[in-house]
Each structure stands twice: as structure tokens, then as C-alpha cells.
Amino acid sequence: MNEIIMREDKTIGEKCYHTKHKSGLNIYVIPKKFRQSYAIFSTKYGAADNCFKLEGDKDFVKVPDGIAHFLEHKMFENEDGSDTFERFAKYGADANAFTSSEMTGYLFSCTGNYDENLEILLDYVTKPYFTPQTVAKEQGIIGQEIKMGEDNPARARYYNMMEALYADSQIKINVAGTVESIAEITADLLYSCYRTFYNLSNMVLVTSGDITMEQVLAVADKVLPIQEEKKIVRCYNPEKAEVNKKRVKVKMAVAKPMFEIGIKDIEIPAEPKELLKKSIAGGVLYDMLFGGTSDFAIDVYESGLVRGFGAYYTIDHIYGMGELVGESDDPEVVYDKFVKYVEEKKKTGLDRGEFERIKKANYASLVKSFDSTQNIANNATYMLLDGIDIMDYSKAVAEVSFEYTEELLRKLFDEKYYAMSVVEPLDK
């Protein structure tokens, strides 16, 4: 009854089976002869989704910051008083969950009793149970999680950079919220978010291990309710191309200044194929400009200007940005060096030989990521949220052209897109 489609990437020797279950849930199985099986059941709902309605509703609902993450915590409690961690532990599984700006994922890994564990996963995530008492209890636990975050300079540096880059976008909302914002959360609000975003048509199950689609479907048939598809309308604030603030600085108990240079990019291709192309080319470009073999990285390492230097480019269906991070006695010197270096590169252009080497490295890291069922399923999930099939990835890497990458170099870098966040030591 459910049509199962197999897709294959012959270069890396992997297959993926997909079907849309009658419940409305999309299911992906990536078989792997490993002992450890892994499953992640996700909803396309994260901290950025704070304003939404269902198609046909008159008004948008606005919810407090941190509610998606709060909801994730509360899913672990069940109406019969059982604890979800214990339910998994009885079958030897290691269970967890996480929330990001764009998604919430519930997961487990196990080396035995896969069917039982999958059943628990599908069961508890489809059965919400919230009461005023359990909400109050969680405010204490998450309050401590937030405080732990406040003492984490890398996190402060990141959110300050997001604040510097974005004026209005919800992408800058702190995933955990604040002690004040989570105080506004009620059981009713949680139910409202749950009913909107935990509709199976807004969710995806990706699983990898020594398992078959038939096996997964048997569990899904048993547990999942048949749901009518709901159309969610999300209200994302428009965002200007230029940065919000050039600098954000705070003082914390750190050893030396920690910096994060942000490079804003609001050009998000609507087509998944184009998005994938841009994401790969952007990654290759950043590796060419700032990766281990780049003049920039070698210079700041050998001169001792930066410790722990790293540079990354991220783009998905909501937002895009580049970041350069590290620790330096003088972040402004690093910033100036970065600006000059990129201007120079824009003039001289990129090197073809280097481009090919870095594409090979990019391919190698994809192949290696298939050495863990957890990496496989997580990466496949992240791509699916952007409408991308992981079986198309290595081909897309091979197809990215030098010309397109060089064009990105000229488009992505301009001073009006740059901002810097610095965490300074207290005594400075």
C-alpha cells in the first residue's frame, strides 16, 4: 500500500529507502550493517517559529521565546507517570532530544530491541501530556540550563553575533529563552504549539542501522495515528541585507578576548537544488579562503595572532551566514586583516588547483560521515528540512563549478555584511 522508493549513491555505496506512511509521516531508512541502530524523529519546529497560524485561521499566534525547547523537555513526561528515559533504558537504548532554531529532534541509539525502542519513540512523541505542576517543575530545570548557558562565553559570543547581524529575524532568538520568557509558558500554550507543529505531515522519521523499511513500517502501523495534513503558515520577519550593529562586546570571566566575525547573507535560493549548490560552493569557498591550507589560516597560526581559528559557512531554508571564530589579544587586528585579505582575493581570484583539492576534501568528509549511523540519520534529517536528499549530495559536490564559486566570492563579501562579537576578559 505504501510505495517504497529506493535511491542510491553509487559513488559512496549507500542506499536510502523512502515512503510516505499512511499517517502522513515521511519515513527514511538508510540500511547500514552496524551494531548500533539510530533513529531521529523530528518536527520542523524550532526557536525561530514564534509566530504562526494554521491555514484558514484568522490571527497569528505569538509565543514566548524558548517554548519549542521547553516543549521538547516536557515531551519526556507521560500521562501514566512513567518516565521516557526509563522506558528506553529498559530496552538498553540511549535516548535524547535537542532543539535548534529550526527543528526539534527526538532520538535514540541501541544495539538491541530496535523495534521496541522505535515503538517507544513514536509513541511518546505523539502523546503530549502537560500540566501546570509539570510545567512549573521544568521552569526550575531549564532555568539552570539557561544559567549554565549564561556562563558559557562561546554561547554568549554566538548570540551576540546573531544580534549584531540581524535586526528582526527570529533566527537570533536564544533557543532556551530567558528565565523571564519561560516564566510565561503555560500548559495551554504548549498544547497550542504541539497541535500546530507536531502534526505528522510536518515531521520526519530518519533511521539508520541493520534494519529494513518493512520492520519500521510494522511499528509505524501499530503506533501512529492517521492524521489530516495541516498547512502551517509561519510568520518570519523580513530582514535587511546590511548588518544590524557592527560590534557587540561583553565582559566575562575568560582568559583572552574571544571573537566571532559574522558575514551576513540573506540571499536564500528558494529551489532546494540551488540551495544545495550554494551551500556546497559556499563551504568550498570558505575552506579556500580560511581553511587549514589557506594563507589566512597559516598566517594567523604562525604569527600567533589567533588561537583556535575556525571558519564556517552555513545556509539553509531560513538564513545564511559565514563566521570566523577564535581567540586573540587583538580582535580588531584580526578583523582588519580579514577585510583586507578578502578584498585582495576578490581582485586576484581563486586558484583552480586548490579548488579541486578542496572539493576532494569535501567529498572525503561526506564519505567519512557514513561511518556512524547517528551522523547518517542526523545529516539526512538536516538536509530534508531544506528539501534536499542526502543521496544527491556527492553528485552535487562534483557538479559545483569553479566559476560559480568565484562568483560567490564577489557576492558574499562586502563590508556592509560584516559584524563582530567580542567577549573580553573582565580586567580589560
Binding site: 538498553g92 535516548a95 539552570q144 544559567k147 549554565m148 588561537r307
Partner: protein, 426 residues
């Protein structure tokens, strides 16, 4: 399952671990030496300095470019401690040759790089280049200073430093800032020579390697160095709790306190019944279904995390939790209440079953992780005992509630550490 461990030079051994399921290959070379205040910083700095340049790849850019040509193979160095031993590694992770999309021989390239790093560092007047030494010293010293950036990790390091203040295990595996700053090019070069001459060397290769080729290559490398009196490591050195608990308060500008408790369990990894300690720890605070998680976090909402972990080589256990300053006593009391419950046998069959399942799952899971396979092989060498996964699980499953209770009774608090705010009055 393992091929034999073979001696390839005096005090140097090679173990090839064939594993079919991975797309990558992994090599780990462990240099095992005593952990001493005098040598820790130097030993840890040797390979980072050499990774800046060898005879064939003299500049950092040459080294890095070569790795990139080899499909971005990682070749790096690490250092940590195992009991009173200092372990310095060279590790390499690379794509299997069969996944190369051209005719690159990745494995051969990686082996050549490793040979360069061990035998052919760039030198200047017969010692390491001063510039490279100074550069790596700065990075290492900054890394030590930066431990304060991560409060949870910092608190645990500080607590262990205090707990083992009279013991080799209290020595930092990267050295202190002062020890790092005192390193000179000549003394570092001497440390390098000494390492090659006296360290016990254990090499592990996991993947689809041709074991004979690797054995030959490593024999060539290590038979070309002069080997003297080789260090013989002890796997365990059990610590004992102080007569009076050592209390330490560190003050910083933090918004959350971190409580770390150091215990001695009276049981170390080489003990035949160490499985009991493992089950005890998992029931107590080693999982999300444990007593500490269910009570300190879920029942009392005091924290986001509260967990225990074992240090097998020292017969020790730590408990850590991030809490509000004013909840210090409350959290401590609850942790001790849970320990008392373990001592009084207030442990359910369910708790024991869950802990055993979790530990068995860990044992089974090692097979899927290329680096964990190397670590497991090292454990077998260190403890001179090679059990199958089934035998290990049988040991876990044979543990009884009475044994767990007895073990709990032997647990002694040794160190009480609290990282708190500047204003806390205590």
C-alpha cells in the same frame, strides 16, 4: 578477532585490527611514559612542534597541503593521562583507498607522513627551530589559561587537581603555564630523543590495512632509532580517601555554581570484580535513568545536570552538578542521600536491569566506532586481559544487588569542590 600483537622493535608493538565496515582507516601510535611534573609539558609539546614542519614538508603550509592532497587525511597529535602514565599520540584518520576518485594511494601517503613526523623533524643547530617551539608554547599556554572559559570542565579539572594534589594523577597532562613557558628548544629536543629511546610504544591500526605492509613500515621506523631502557607502565594505582574531607571553594564571576565531589571507590579497573563498580556507578549517576538524574534533577529541579563518572585507573569517582549558589547544601545533601540509599540496598531490580542493559549496549557499540576499537585494544594490552564482548557482558550481568550494596559501602568522599560567585560568603 584481533591479529596478534607483534613486537616490531625493543618495547614497541604493533596490533592490526581488521575492520570491514568503515569507509575510513585509523592509525594510533601511543608513546607511554611516566607522568611527572618535570616532563609533562615537554612531552606534550614534541609532536605539535614537529607537525609544523619535517624535512620533506618543511613549512606548515607544506604539511597541511600534503594532508589535503590525501583526501584531507587527519594527522595530529594528542596527549592525556592514564593513571600515573602520560600518553602522547600521533593519530591518523584517512579515507580508504577504494573511495579515492583518482589514483591517489592515501594509505601510503599517510604512512610516509607519519614516518616524517617521527623521524625527520625540521631542525636548526641540531635542535628544534626556536620559532616553532615558541609558537607552540604560546598556543599550549593559552590553552591552559582558556580552561576557565568552560566552567563545567574547569571545575572538574580543578577538583581533580585538589583531590590528587599529592599524586602523579594531579599533574596536568599538558603541563602548567609555568612549566610550558620554561621549555627551551634544546630541552624539547632532548625530550623528543628521550621519548623515542624510552617510551613504551603501542601502535594500533584499524581498518582495511594490509597488516604486513604496516608492520614492515613501523619496524623500519622504530628499528632506526636507538632504544634504551623502556618504561614499564602500571595500569592502575588505587588512591585512598583522606581522613578528613578536603573542602575547596573557587570564586569567579559566574551566575551558576558547579559542585564537584571526588570519591574513592576502593576498586580499580584491573580488579576482577570491577563490573560491580560499573553497575554501581550507572545506577547511582551514570545515566538519565539513574538515581542522581531522577532525584536531584527530575524530583527536586535543582539542576540541569547531575551525574557521576568513574576514573578506573585511580579507583575514583566524581559527581558533578551545575546549581544555584544557594542550593549548594541542598544538592550536596540529596547526592549523599542517594548514596546512602545505595548503601542501604534501596535499589530496585529495574534500576539494576536498566544499568546492565546500558553497560551492555556500550560494550556492543564499541564495534561501530573506529577510535573506540583502538582504545579497547589498548585496554587489553594495558590490563593484559582479552575478553570477548560476550564475556564482558556476562560479567556485567552476573553482578548482584548485594555486591552493589557492598561496593557502595566502600565509597568514601575525599574532596568537596565548589565553583561559586565572587560574593558567596562561605
Amino acid at each position: 578477532m584481533y591479529s596478534e600483537r607483534k613486537q616490531i622493535a625493543k618495547g614497541a608493538y604493533f596490533t592490526n585490527i581488521p575492520a570491514d565496515k568503515f569507509k575510513s582507516n585509523y592509525i594510533q601510535i601511543r608513546f607511554i611514559m611516566p607522568l611527572t611534573r618535570d616532563t609533562a609539558a615537554k612531552n606534550a609539546l614534541v609532536f605539535p612542534v614537529i607537525l609544523r614542519g619535517t624535512e620533506k614538508y618543511p613549512a606548515l603550509a607544506d604539511m597541511r597541503r600534503r594532508k589535503q592532497e590525501l583526501y584531507d587525511s587527519g594527522v595530529w597529535s594528542g596527549h592525556w593521562k592514564h593513571g600515573d602514565n602520560h600518553i602522547v599520540t600521533i593519530e591518523a584518520s584517512s579515507l580508504r583507498n577504494s573511495y579515492a576518485i583518482d589514483d591517489t594511494d592515501i594509505t601510503a601517503g599517510v604512512l610516509e607522513l607519519i614516518g616524517q613526523v617521527i623521524l625527520h623533524p625540521v631542525t636548526e643547530n641540531g635542535v628544534f627551530k626556536a620559532e616553532s617551539v615558541e609558537g607552540e608554547k604560546k598556543i599550549a599556554a593559552d590553552a591552559v589559561r582558556a580552561t576557565i572559559n568552560q566552567k563545567g570542565r574547569y571545575a572538574r579539572i580543578r577538583a581533580l587537581e585538589e583531590m590528587f594534589s599529592d599524586d602523579a594523577y594531579g599533574i596536568s597532562d599538558g603541563g602548567s603555564v609555568e612549566e610550558i613557558e620554561a621549555v627551551c628548544p634544546k630541552c624539547l629536543f632532548d625530550a623528543y630523543k628521550n621519548m623515542l629511546r624510552t617510551a613504551r610504544i603501542e601502535i594500533f591500526a584499524v581498518g582495511d590495512f594490509d597488516g604486513d605492509v604496516l608492520e614492515k613500515k613501523f619496524s623500519e621506523i622504530f628499528s632506526s632509532v636507538e632504544r634504551g631502557e623502556i618504561y614499564e607502565p602500571e595500569p592502575d594505582t588505587k588512591g585512598e580517601a583522606r581522613a578528613q574531607v578536603k573542602k575547596v571553594y573557587d570564586r569567579q564571576n559566574v551566575t551558576q555554581g558547579v559542585l564537584v565531589l571526588g570519591f574513592f571507590t576502593g576498586s580499580a579497573a584491573s580488579d576482577d570484580d570491577y563490573a560491580v563498580t560499573k553497575v554501581f556507578n550507572t545506577v547511582f549517576g551514570g545515566s538519565a535513568a539513574s538515581k542522581l538524574f531522577m532525584n536531584v534533577r527530575e524530583k527536586l529541579s535543582l539542576c540541569y545536570y547531575c551525574s557521576s563518572s568513574l576514573i578506573g585507573e585511580k579507583g575514583a569517582m566524581t559527581v558533578a552538578s551545575g546549581i544555584q549558589f544557594e542550593n549548594e547544601q541542598k544538592a550536596f545533601d540529596e547526592i549523599m542521600v542517594q548514596l546512602d540509599k545505595m548503601k542501604n540496598g534501596e535499589i530496585t531490580e529495574d534500576e539494576i536491569e536498566m544499568a546492565k542493559k546500558s553497560l551492555c549496549d556500550d560494550i556492543m557499540g564499541i564495534d561501530d566506532n573506529i577510535r573506540a576499537l583502538a582504545a579497547k585494544a589498548f585496554g587489553e594490552v594495558m590490563y593484559g586481559r582479552k575478553l570477548t564482548d560476550e564475556e564482558k557482558m556476562a560479567k556485567i550481568n552476573a553482578v548482584t544487588k548485594e555486591q552493589i550494596t557492598e561496593r557502595a559501602k566502600a565509597v568514601r568522599l575525599d574532596t568537596y569542590y565548589f565553583l561559586c560567585g565572587q560574593e558567596e560568603s562561605k
